[in-house]
Amino acid sequence: MSSAPADLTIAQAASALAAGDLSSVELTEASIAAMTAARNLNAFITETPELALERAAESDVRRGHGESAGPMDGIPIAVKDLFCTEGVLTTAASHILDGFVPPYESTVTANLRSAGAVMIGKTNLDEFAMGSANVTSYYGPVKNPWRAADGKDRVPGGSSGGSAAAVSARICAGATGTDTGGSIRQPGAFCGIVGMKPTYGRCSRWGVVAFSSSLDQPGPMARTVKDSAIMLTAMAGHDPKDSTSARVDTPDFAAAMTGDIRGLKVGVPAEYRIDGTPAEIDAMWHQGEKWLRDAGAECVPISLPHTKYALPTYYIVAPAEASSNLARYDGVRYGLRMPGASLDEMYANTRGAGFGSEVRRRVLIGTYVLSAGYYDAYYVKAQKLRTLIAQDFKMAFKQVDVILTPTAPSSAFVIGERLDDPIAMYLNDVFTVPASIAGLPGISVPAALDQSGLPLGLHLIARPFDEATLFRAAHALEQAANFTARPVLVSEL
């Protein structure tokens, strides 16, 4: 074999497993070794090597009996620590969930498990998925495996920063993420991997610690578009336990990637050209257009006039829902409890100690925008804007099949930067938030390196439940970009 096991993509590993060139136990051992070696990244909150080896052995037994569960069977994956996992500590990277071991398994991770995937650990994230740099975690920041010329540690993006770092650092070929405003796609771009947010309702939210219920969506993170498609097929499906889960069939997304995008119409939204975007990102965007045109697609300028309202809308809706979703962390039933002389004091002590500053900020903002006298001015108005933003896309999709934008307005920044300015931090999601607001599927594909040697991503958005077209277009982009750069791995240092 030419590659080390941990370097294999899901598709490659699946072939090797099928051919008997490799066992799941061998593959998993390699993943565990890489995870151990890369601990300095702080990508994992909890490592589950014994459980992983147990499940890998089971996979090998299945395969030995000719009962492989499919392309994910025996593949080591990392799970964002926002997914509840039966018998395994689940923290949401928050102090307030200290010691919380769920007696249940989230639908998405249960689906992956029945597809044979082998969980090697729970990855670090921004606390309750609130952040774009993985710096708000109670368990400390995650380091981006990529190094720029200056040698300073970069953020991996967020909130699914641990998952992105783990996949990027070749610890595993795939990981689960969740995306509320860009939490899969932006870290995907920052870490030079593929990050895919499915249509809202494609994957069940049951058992995923809620941040913003109307926006949260689990999705795959992998190094190739095909791997993302394979993973999503295993993750998705209608779930009667989630009332917002869509009653749609799950196609074999990888099979839908024909490689042919001739005649595909690609929209390029004028409103996404914003002041202050680095020239190299603009250049990459133009390059993306060219790649798609060269592959036979037609690029057309489109207008999404309400784009500028997306970020403010998001920062009303998401905190509003979060302020309510996080009310259950009250010290009464599980997790942290800080005693107090009265019930109210116990609440204040527990939540004051249990939540970090960014979570507290959003709970306060959310409480404010829902308050009597402010509700109409903020929450109701945001809901109206949400409709308008969704209509923008609906109109655009009458004209085009996918929309092309950059994933983020910058490459990965230095850990510690932008901490004092939440607005600057929130701007990270300016290109990803509109699709979230509209519930649309989006994908970030690694496209180039900037001048400091850090990866940049291109972002595609498609119609609701048209992930097949999204993957097909992303695959073409991936082929054209031929992004072969890789971070310097610990093993190579």
Binding site: Y104, S106, S243, S323, A327, V332
Partner: protein, 486 residues
Amino acid sequence: MSDYIIHGDSGDWEVVIGLEVHAQIIAESKLFSGAAPDFGAEPNSQVSLVDAAMPGMLPVLNMRCVEQAVRTGLGLNAKINLSSVFERKNYFYADMPQGYQISQFLHPIVGEGIIELDLPDGTTREVGIERLHMEQDAGKSLHDQDPTRTYIDFNRSGVALMEIVSNPDLRGPEDAGAYLRKMRSILRYLGTCDGNMEEGSMRCDCNVSVRMVGEKELRTRCEIKNVNSVRFVMQAIEHEAQRQVDLYENGGQVVQETRLFDANKGTTRTMRSKEEAHDYRYFPDPDLLPLVLLADEVERLRADLPELPDAKKARFIADLGLGAYDASVLVAEKASADYFEEVAAGRDAKTAANWVISNLFGVLNKLDIDIEESPVSATSLGKLIDLITDGTISGRIAKDVFQAMVDSGDDPGAIVEKKGMKQITDAGAIEEAVDAVIADNPDKIAEIRAGKDKMLGWFVGQVMQMTGGKANPKMVNDLLREKTRP
């Protein structure tokens, strides 16, 4: 009874009352989870992951509860909203695990309706229903299990409730009592709530204000929370109205606030003032889609509704010839109405109604039991009436037979047989007794013949006594009249 007036020094005051009834929906499981809602289970034995608000848990609407709410709305002659929305009512309390209650706020499932109160004089009065919405119940805090700590039982957490809000159409404690009884009756007929206030499956918040008779505007109201019996509701309103009148009469003002009823003292006291009122931060629950019903489904539910008390009462009056009062007494409880109908089947309805209301209800009251536990079955009571109708026993003896039925549970025929209670209709035997009494009382006969008619009753009594009460009273009467004629 609408004329409940409190006389003050400055004039007469009337009371304005609106009630919010919280009725637990009868269903196999809770509003958004699969856990059972049964009363009296071991603490925390009926709590699902959703009910405990574990991280990542999501509510799934129980459609049986929706059906029950719609059926209740139909039973209250109310508008069914084909589209309704669940919202979150946010506030912290230890026995409310989510930190919010899922309720309906701006868009309830049921809109305006009407409930008809049966007044003691046989007339009726309409009270408006403002709305009915579905919501989750909270758990229960147990403060008496430990000197320093509070325990929580989450069994009730997530149980489906209907909150039924009346218009401020009630004008006194009696009105409120009649409203609650009628509401309970309708819910029980529908099978949508068992109406057991002592088990907490039906509770009531009372909004009370007072105003001078003739005033058009409403004055400041107080809300008395969570009163759990009809009697307490009436007491609480009576006390609260008087308290408010006293305040005004002494130059004070009523402050809008939430109050608690103290059942031991029969008084109300402040729970929290308007300033302390929660800002519930309602917003549509993003975990749930708007609830959309099809008109066809609603019509199917309407077609399947049972006969409700008002319709039954109308039928008893029109078809069976009962008086309005008797009819409303009989239909108040479905079990009573069913019992009565069984007794009345093929018999004289008025006689049946009389026996059920005057005799059976008296016995049940005395024994403090429900009609379902009656020692006298409807079949037996029917047979007893048959024995009177065919002349086997007299009406007077029937009362003794009935008592024996209550005591023994035996069949009336067997009792009559065993105790030799058959009526004496043999004219010869009766005449013998009549003659004997006349012969023994020549002085009294003289009085009758002198025109003292009342004395006749005394003679009847003597004859009945002589025959052990078994003589046919009519025959005795006729004979005596004939033989004492001057």
